[in-house]
Amino acid sequence: MDSKLLYEELMAYLYGEMSAGEKKQFEQRLLENPELAGEMKEMSQIKKVVGQVKDKEVIDPFFFGAKGTGTAWQTARIIGNSILKPAIGLAAGISLIIILGYFTGLHVSTDAGYLNITFGQSVERSVTQNDNYVNTDKVIDIVNVMLQEERAYQADRIDNIEKNFSTRLTSGYQNQQQEINSALTENAVFNNQMITKFVRQMQQDNLEYLERYFELSNSAQQQYVLTLLTEFSAYLESQREEDLRQIVAGLSDLKENQELQKMETDQVLVSILNTVNNQNN
């Protein structure tokens, strides 16, 4: 395998990156060249062995997408198997705070929206209600008012959309109707012209057909009558000949009968004469 091109082809064939034509050509060469076939077999074997390594399974990590720069994202970062480390760190931090709190008398409380952190003895803190202070009820009220305003705004928007839609629908319908009518009118004129033209053409065609028919018909009738007359004349001729034959035959019979009668008469006369002669004797 000295040829560089050849082992490039070998690799392309081995990894199925040849076109159908190239593949067929290469397979033909494999059949003709035992050295190349041996090389191919060797490469297939080693590929098979190399291919024994299977993929390792890995769980893809959670991804906390953070909008902004890559640096911000890096801080949010992917958490893979290392999720344990921050979890342990967090737990240790909380434990430390609890222990420190225990020894320093840490007291944490919330009171009317304030977060109180105290060390040692807890001190009562007078919380003056301020008109500006926003409590839960106020928040609910604000939210309700905002919701009502939003609903009213949305209802108005829907009404406007419906009206716009209806107007557009009506105008669209009218426009379409007008377009259809104008199209029908235009087509009607066009259709009349077409029908007139068609009828004229049809009449012309019919006339031509009729003329042709009569021409053909007359010629055929003439031919027929001529044939008929010829045939009738031949028939009459044959009849006449037959009659003549019969008349000749009749005359011939008559003549024969006359001769026979004459002979019979002669015989009768002879016999009478003989009889008379006998009587006289």
């Binding site: 690799m11 390594v53 990590p61 890559g70 992917i78």
Partner: protein, 207 residues
């Protein structure tokens, strides 16, 4: 080598997700990461043969991808682009590990730690006797060990072609070489693999 799984199928047709991710869609990026995470991990793993390093490299790769995916103009070139980033991260990690080893006061410990990156050569076992059946796991370890002994340029070709299923054209883009060079490096890589396997008295019994 790669069996067509649902994930491979999804990867093949992930252009739409890549397009969304290039537009800054975080959900699409998350989906893209879940599609490609295993592939990049396995690529890094075969490069270092160490789970923790592979995890680190994979994470760094995706951080880098997230930073620069908006600059990707052609979504169809996502695959070679991704592997190029992954390979760069592998090289960075390799350099970092070498520096750490060099400057470490505890060189001996580092050496032993470094040693964990590469699999220990298997003790005398079934590979040395063709009559014995070769356990899949052991064969896998042997192949990976032989792979680690290959020159880097041949090793990376085998990883990309055999295990990651990149086309020669894509490998050429990742490594910035010609397709012809990619093919010849793979050819010599496989040849060298054969020699290394033979040195370890491996026989192709059953192959």
């Amino acid at each position: 080598m790669l069996a067509e799984t649902l994930q491979d199928f999804a990867i093949k047709y992930s252009d739409q997700i890549v397009r969304k991710a290039t537009g800054g869609n975080e959900q699409a990026f998350s989906k893209l990461m879940s599609l490609w995470y295993k592939r990049i991990y396995n690529f890094s793993y075969k490069y270092f043969l160490n789970h923790d390093t592979a995890m680190d490299v994979t994470q760094k790769t995706f951080i880098s991808v997230h930073k620069s995916i908006r600059k990707l103009k052609d979504v169809t070139s996502f695959k070679p682009w991704l592997y190029r980033i992954a390979l760069n991260k592998c090289h960075e990690e390799e350099r970092r590990m070498k520096r750490r080893k060099w400057f470490s006061l505890f060189g001996a410990n580092e050496d032993s730690q470094q040693g964990e990156l590469w699999l220990e050569p298997p003790a005398e076992g079934p590979f040395y006797n063709p009559d014995q059946s070769v356990d899949d796991k052991e064969l896998e370890e042997l192949v990976l060990e032989c792979l680690s002994e290959l020159p880097e340029e041949q090793r990376i070709l085998i990883i990309m072609k055999e295990y990651e299923g990149l086309k020669f054209r894509e490998i050429a883009v990742v490594l910035n070489i010609s397709e012809s060079t990619a093919k010849s490096r793979l050819y010599y890589g496989l040849k060298t693999m054969k020699l290394i396997l033979e040195k370890k008295n491996f026989t192709y019994y059953g192959f």
